[in-house]
Structure formats: C-alpha cells, structure tokens
Amino acid sequence: MTRSIVVVTAGLSEQSSTSMLADRLATESVAALAKRDVEATAEIIELRPLAHDLTNNLLTGFAAGPLVAALRSVREADGVIAVTPVFSASYSGLFKTFFDVLEVGALDGKPVLMAATAGTSRHSLMLEHTMRPLFSYLRAVIVPTAVLAASEDWGSAGGVSGELSTRIARAAGQLGDLVAGLPNQQVKRDRFADVPDFETLLNA
C-alpha cells in the first residue's frame, strides 16, 4: 500500500528557507521509502495561507475552510514532517497553533520528523529542548535525528552544504524505517463509533 507523508511547514515568506527545507525532507523521505520498496506520496501543507482559519479556530472552537482538509491529512498520514522557523528561542506561534487545534490523539504513535530553520546554528538545541517535548506530549514516535538548517548551511549557490545533506538523509532514512515498519492496517479513531452502551455508562 502507498504510504502518505504529510509535511507541515510554518515558513512565512514565499520560497522561505523553511519551505526549502521542508521540500528537501519530503523528497528525501519518499526516496528513502522507495529504497525500502515502499511507495509513498508527500503532501506539503503551508501554514501561512491557513493563518486566518487557525486564528478563527482558536476563537470559535471549530475548523473551517481549507484547514479542515489540512487537519484531516495530518490525522490520516502515515508519517509527518514538521518544520518551523525558530522564533524567540522556540517554534513559531503559527506552528504551535496548528498543533493546538489538531484533535487530541491525532499524532498517537505516528512517526514525526522534526526540523527547523534559524539565522544561526546556535539555535540548534531548540529542537531538543522545546520541540521534542511538544511531540512527546502529543505521543508521536519522534525520529531520533532532528534537522536544523542555519543560514550558513545553505551554501553559496543556493545548494545545501554537505553536512546538512547528510543530516537530511539520515533523518529521512530514520523516518523511512519507521514508516516502512508500520502495520498495514492503521486503526482510525472514531469517537462516535466507540460510544459505550448506556448500561455500561450507568454502571461505571
């Protein structure tokens, strides 16, 4: 069966380094799965066009517009790649808002690759100290290698420096291993199908 990789990226400008990193990770992850004889697709979800719907969701309590499909994609994904710029020593507020409105349990046991972009590599440990606890809380299975791309990693001709390439390949390979090892039938949660019989509720 075809696996779906969903990339959530919180870059704010067109062709941001965050989007570039997200694209690289998506391509490498699909390639890593191909090497393991697993067919995979990658869907990129840019959060910038969803910013208004995300704020509205905070205020109204429900998702509307294209946000509905974006949340569904993440919920149904076999693996997630989450990429944010580093803002004030953390993930961006826009990035956090998406995971705040994602329904409880949506990432349970799901492989997640974390990545971030920053102006300097001094922000590297944000991934370990701030982002990893977020996804631990969401009960994701987090890929051991997290990828930070700082300005100096992008090299001179818009390419990616050797060291960053190595990290991307290592992280994508680890995500590939996790996704390839998933059971074929994923359990999809449905709270309406799981309502206990009333006698059970009454005697609880």
Binding site: T55, N56, L58, L59, T60, G61, F62, A64, G65, R191, F192, V195, P196, D197, F198, L201, L202, A204
Partner: protein
C-alpha cells in the same frame, strides 16, 4: 411543531452605544422578551443557568415561574439546567414546583456546563462531567417516579426513604431534553431513556449536529422507543432579521464582530456559511430554517437565539415581531414536509397525562379480566 427562543442571559455592552444594562435591567428585559414571545405566537421560552458574571440566570425557576404567572400559553423551559453541579434533589423539587405553578406548561433540558471554575464552587470536578450527568439524572428520574427513594451513589449523600415534594403534577414527571454539542455519551443517554435530544446547533458547523442527532436517532430505535425518525429532536438557531438583507447585515455586524463567544474571529459572512447563523430577511430565515430538516430529519422543536451580544431590548422586541411572521410561515411549511408517522410536537404535560391515563385504564381492564 414548537417554535420558541432560548437565552443565555448574558449582560453584554451594546458595542454601538457603549451602554451595558444593569443586572436588574437584564432580568426585567428577559421577562419582557418572554412575554413578547407569547404575544407574537411563539410556543417556548427557555433560559440558561449560569453561576458567574456576566450572566444573570442563576435561579431559573424563579424567573420562569414569574413569567408563567404573566403568560397563558407559553411553555417554560431551560437551555440548559446544570445536571452536573446542581443537586438532583433540588432540581426535582424546584421544577416540580414550577410544574404546579405553571399548570404543566414547562419542561427542561439537561446540560453539563463547560465552565471549569463552576464545578469546584459546587464541590464537583469538571473531569467527572459525564459520570455526574449520568448518575445525577438517574437519581432525578427516580425522585419524580418513586415516592420513597433509597439511594446511594458516588457524588451525593445517600438517601434513605426520601420523598421529593411536591410530587409531579398529576403524577406526570416533566418531559426532559438532553442538550450536548460534542459528547456522544449524552445522545446515548437521551436515547436510552426515550427523552428528547436538543442539538445546540448554533456556533458550530452543521456536520457536528448531523452526527450527534444521527447517533441519537439510531440509538432511540435500538432502545425500542420507536423508529429512528420518530425520535424527539430539538434544534437551536440564530437569526437577525430586517426587511432587506443589506440592512440586516449592516445592523447586526457590530454585535457580531464584538460578540463574546465568536467575536473578533471569522467574518459575519464566513460564520453564516459555516454555522446556522442567518442574518437577512424573513424569507431568507424561512428558507434556511426549513433546510435544517435535510440533515437532522423532521424534528419537533426549533428555538432561536435573538437576545445576546448586547442587543438592546427595543431591537430584540422588533426582532420578535418579525420572528412571529417567520414562524407563521414555518409552521405549515414544516408540516407539509413531515411524514404522517413522525410526531409534530414533543410530549407535553397534556399528552403525557393522556398516555398515563390510557395505560392505567388498560392495565385496570387487564386486571379486571383476570378476576
């Protein structure tokens, strides 16, 4: 089919004038709004129950009894009665008293309440919301149906030989609805007892309501109370009316934009497309409201929210005049679409009493035949 209004009872600044009614004004306005509802031909007035500012209705039966004394036809109800944090013994007593005073012109809707701080004020824990709703309601039913109740549970002092007084009018317990936005357990509860289920509907996408009502109907049939399409369903609605739609939108927009629940978020136009909110002409409200049955099936009670977000009394009373016209059109239109085996109205005191008398006399005949 019954039509009416339901109020949250919020004290909110009118964003167009900066005026905030006093609690005294808000309470008196609520009474005026209820009386107007009867005058324009509506059937039901329901009030919420809240125990924190900026809301005034902490003692619903006091207000409802006062309204009952000044009306003759209106059914008094709640939206909702907090079954989690209110002692079921007090609910049994208060609402049985209201039932006597109103000559049976009342019913009530159970709800959990979603404000975390309210629970500990009444010695409860919001994390126990569903178990509280289930245990307390099970006790409430017994208090209305059994003279002497021996009872022990998790959330309240045990009762030994307790008799709730006054006994329900004519021995007929008030009809009960259960309201919930997102908890399928409550739809399951309503179905189990064959009670009514009220979909709040407003402020949420229709898909939420469709799913909840669908579950309730399916389980109502499962528990043997009738066919799924005969289950007793009520729905909320939210409208603002004017003779032409541009005026309606222009007049309502400042209230919408600053409303406590959804303000400063989506635009009025977005919210109208995402939720049941209808701001427009009477004809537009008729058309939209008739569309609700397409996803919840034929239903028995439609309540509208018309008095929130700082709308002044004069505006609300004008809204009710137009809502009266809307309802006069909706009544025959809903009935024309309803299959004959689907009840038009929810149970009332009169119909429940007739059923009770009928079942008692048939029981008496059976007993007579055996002798």
């Amino acid at each position: 089919m019954q039509f009416g209004i339901f109020t949250v009872g919020d004290v909110t600044e009118d964003p167009t004038t900066g005026t905030t009614p006093t609690e005294h004004e808000r309470i008196k306005n609520t009474v005026a709004i209820a009386k107007k509802a009867e005058e324009v031909g509506l059937d039901v007035f329901a009030t919420g129950q809240h125990h924190n500012p900026p809301f005034v209705p902490s003692a619903p039966t006091t207000t409802l009894a006062y309204i009952a004394a000044q009306t003759s036809r209106l059914i008094l109800s709640t939206s909702t009665t907090l079954i989690t944090t209110t002692d079921p013994v007090r609910i049994a007593e208060d609402y049985a008293t209201l039932q006597h005073l109103s000559d049976g012109r009342m019913d009530l809707m159970m709800g959990r309440g979603n404000m975390g701080p309210v629970y500990p004020w009444f010695g409860k824990d919001i994390r126990e919301g569903i178990p509280l709703a289930i245990e307390n309601y099970a006790l409430l039913r017994r208090l209305w149906r059994e003279e002497n109740v021996d009872w022990q549970g998790r959330f309240r002092t045990p009762l030994q030989g307790f008799t709730s007084t006054p006994r329900p009018l004519d021995g007929v317990p008030p009809f009960v609805w259960h309201g919930s936005i997102r908890s399928p357990e409550i739809a399951e509860q309503a179905a189990y007892y064959g009670d009514g289920f009220f979909g709040n509907h407003i402020f949420w996408p229709a898909s939420h309501t469709e799913q909840m009502v669908g579950l309730y109907r399916e389980r109502f049939e499962h528990y043997g109370h009738g066919a799924a399409d005969q289950a007793i369903v009520g729905l909320g609605g939210q409208v603002y009316l004017a003779r032409n739609s541009q005026d309606a939108v222009r007049e309502f927009r400042p209230y919408f934009d600053n409303a406590p629940v959804y303000g400063h978020g989506p635009s009025l136009e977005e919210f109208m497309s995402q939720t049941p909110l209808t701001v427009g002409t009477p004809a537009q409200v008729v058309e939209r409201t008739l569309g609700f049955r397409e996803y919840v099936g034929d239903y028995q009670r439609q309540l509208f929210l018309v008095d929130h977000a700082g709308l002044p009394l004069a505006t609300v009373l004008k809204q009710l005049d137009m809502l009266g016209e809307v309802v006069a059109e909706l009544r025959p239109a809903f009935e024309a679409l309803r299959p004959s085996h689907v009840p038009s109205d929810p149970p009332t005191h009169a119909t429940q009493l007739a059923n009770q008398t009928a079942s008692q006399s048939s029981a008496a005949e059976t007993t007579g035949g055996q002798q």
